[in-house]
């Protein structure tokens, strides 16, 4: 029989190695899937690598996907670490995009250095407020935030569709001739465009830089501050947090708002960095919110690691879209992401446990009769 037992320590190298091992494992399993369906795995992986890193403009487009994933990855990392299961990053990102594009359209006359912060604030607020719905329900009624935040993703998507396709809203372009036939959103003014950093042929989006700043701030917040201390206690044991006099409801709300705000910032970056228009189809197709779960898990919920992982998964996502077509299997990216997640999960646990084949060796219970510590 196979049994899995707890070991008391996880060596540090195991935690560091885990994401890499998971990626390799995912590549192998996906390779088997590819081979089974008549694709050449090596050729497919070469294609992905080229499309994401080496061909002209590839790196720039990788960062187009890495930037939103950095935000949604941080959104998930900060929430999951505290066992607040916000999987509403998707909807919070939409709301951030609605908020930021609204602010950008309304205040389009402002100079760029003013307008960009205004868009950021609008995006953060919109995302945070949307996240407060599951947050309040969880904090005060113990309602399952997984399902509520997920349901609100669909609702937020429908709100976007309503604004652009089914109403005469402020966001919708009602004047240009093509827009009368194919409904689209109004395009933002030039001052609402985030400049980015151009290095040769590569453009680093402004949003990515902002995201790196957010990641560093989050890291310091969690590791070094009182609020971060409260978060870590809450994430480990709610009853210990209550016992220690922590305001657990407020902490849940704050974390939800923080998490949603970060996703909303990602939505603002979508408008400012890339779209310059509220595009419901494009945002919904990309599924950044859900992919953020993969990013956060692979980064083991560490904000700094999210930066690196977002580039990796961004590259994969980019390849998925760039190579879309009859010769490249659709759904491969999601399948690989799923396998990556499974591997990280399994690996994280196996690092903490040891597999034994044969009769189990029992570990003395926590309050064992004999007390080796004494």
């Amino acid at each position: 029989m196979i049994s899995i037992e707890r070991s008391l320590d996880t060596p540090r190298w195991q935690r560091v190695a885990l994401p890499f091992v998971s990626l390799i494992l995912a590549a192998i399993i996906s390779g088997l899937v590819l081979a089974a369906s008549g694709h050449d795995p090596i050729a497919t992986y070469r294609q992905i690598y080229a499309a994401s890193f080496t061909s002209p403009g590839a790196l720039t487009s990788t960062f187009v996907y890495a930037t939103p994933l950095l935000f949604t990855g941080l959104c998930v990392a900060v929430a999951f670490r505290m066992r607040v299961w916000n999987i509403g990053g998707e909807g919070q990102l939409y709301m951030g995009a609605i908020g930021a594009s609204g602010a950008g359209l309304l205040l389009g006359g402002l100079p760029q250095p003013l307008l960009i912060p205004v868009m950021i604030v609008a995006g953060v607020l919109a995302g945070a407020l949307w996240a407060m719905i599951p947050g309040l329900l969880r904090a005060y009624l113990q309602t399952n935030e997984i399902l509520v935040s997920l349901m609100l993703n669909y609702v937020a998507g429908l709100v976007m569709y309503f604004l652009i396709y089914d109403s005469q809203s402020f966001w919708r372009d009602l004047t240009s001739p093509t827009a009368l036939v194919f409904p689209t959103g109004k395009t933002l003014s030039a001052s609402a465009t985030w400049p980015g950093v151009v290095i040769g042929s590569f453009t680093l989006p402004t949003g990515f830089l902002v995201g790196v700043g957010v990641a560093v701030l989050l890291f310091v917040l969690v590791r070094g501050t009182r609020f971060g201390f409260e978060m870590r206690v809450m994430g480990d044991s709610t009853s210990a947090a209550t016992y220690a006099g922590m305001r657990t409801r407020r902490i849940i709300l704050a974390v939800m708002a923080l998490s949603g705000g970060i996703a909303g910032l990602g939505g603002a970056s979508q408008i400012g960095d890339f779209g310059h228009v509220l595009d419901p189809r494009g945002l919904q197709q990309a599924q950044y919110g859900y992919t953020g779960i993969v990013v956060a898990a692979l980064a083991l919920y560490n904000p700094l690691a999210v930066i690196v992982v977002s580039i990796l998964i961004g590259a994969l996502t980019n390849a998925g879209f760039a190579l879309q077509g009859p010769s490249f299997p659709a759904g491969l990216v999601g399948t690989m992401e799923g396998i990556i997640l499974f591997s990280v999960l399994g690996g994280e646990m196996l690092g903490r446990y040891r597999i034994r084949i044969g009769s189990p060796l029992r570990v003395a219970p926590a309050d064992a009769e004999a007390d080796p510590g004494r």
Binding site: L158, L332, Y353, P365
Partner: protein, 319 residues
């Protein structure tokens, strides 16, 4: 409202509610064993795509093809659930993340889309569709006829399953053991019940039922395959289990309520009511939020409901 409209609403409520009943019953059994599987959406999609594929490939009499397609769909759902079962029961990973992983893995941009493309069934029009069976020739009766006696076999199957699951849970030894495993795996273990086996079996059976629920989309509602066609039904099924306080009879009613909401837009528009379509489309999702909030206040007051060990891995030597 006239009777015709009501009958039309009820009939379409049943049509839209049936996949929810099937997937919901599956999740109910899984959760009763103490395992939370958030991968329902992915398992449904796998059931939908494999069921449709099989129905397109096989020759022979329509009913036989459809039965084989249903069995394969259930198998696909069960296989997906097995991944979750291994990770959450044997490896004891976090069940929430594992379920999400399953949804990403098998979901709209994952394996279901992959195999759909590999099999090339994307644009095909279905060769077989489950038709209504006029039971005992009573389908012509006013009102009750179309509701009770003129449904497709899937609907009759779902009714049979509700009764079967209810009987299993409350009137059989194994159902009793299942409830004990979900409530207190420690006690169940001490009484010689194999907790691991119960959890595996019910997680896999739950996945099979989700696969069947998915197949209802492609074999009964509309015989075509498009990526992500379940559109969140899997998540609503999970919410329904909470709404139903883990009881199969309440689940049936809840599923039809949600089915009515899903179809309300079409029905009302067909009868000339003007509203933005997004409003109707968002109703099931908004209702889920409202219902969950309501249920959580009730759950807080009631003692019975959530299986006490839901989502908690069981290991004998640990607390």
């Amino acid at each position: 409202m006239n009777t015709d409209l009501i009958v039309a609403i009820v009939v379409s409520a049943i049509a839209y509610g049936t996949p929810l009943v099937l997937a919901g019953l599956g999740e109910l059994l899984t959760e009763r064993s103490g395992v939370l599987n958030l991968g329902v959406e992915g398992m449904m999609l796998m059931g939908a795509v494999t069921g449709f594929f099989v129905s397109q490939q096989l020759g022979g009499p329509g009913w036989a093809v459809l039965i084989v397609a249903m069995i394969v769909a259930a198998g696909a759902g069960g296989l997906m659930a097995l991944i979750h079962a291994f990770l959450s029961i044997t490896v004891r990973v976090n069940q929430i993340v594992s379920g999400l992983a399953l949804t990403i893995f098998a979901g709209a941009v994952g394996l279901s889309s992959y195999v759909g493309q590999v099999w090339g069934i994307g644009g095909q029009h279905g060769l077989h569709q489950l038709n209504r069976v006029d039971l005992l020739g009573l389908g012509e009766l006013p009102v009750v006829g179309p509701i009770l006696f003129d449904q497709d076999p899937f609907v009759y199957l779902s009714w049979g399953l509700v009764v079967l699951v209810a009987w299993y849970l409350y009137r059989t030894r194994f159902g009793l053991y299942l409830r004990a495993v979900g409530e207190s795996p420690r006690s169940a273990d001490a009484m010689g019940i194999n907790v691991t086996r119960y959890r595996y079996v019910h997680t896999v059976v739950g996945g099979a039922l989700a696969g069947l629920g998915g197949a209802y989309f492609t074999l009964a509602i509309a015989p075509i395959w498009t990526d992500g066609l379940t559109a969140g039904a899997g998540w609503i099924a999970i919410a329904l289990v909470i709404f139903a306080f883990w009881r199969p009879d309440v689940l049936l009613i809840g599923a039809y309520l949600f089915g009515a909401l899903s179809s309300l837009g079409f029905t009302l528009q067909a009868h000339g009511v003007q509203m933005p379509s997004e409003f109707f489309s968002s109703l099931p999702y908004l209702m889920t939020v409202v219902v969950l909030a309501g249920a959580s206040t009730t759950l807080a007051r009631r003692r019975i409901g959530t299986p006490a060990s839901l989502g908690v891995p069981y290991a004998r030597e640990e607390g």
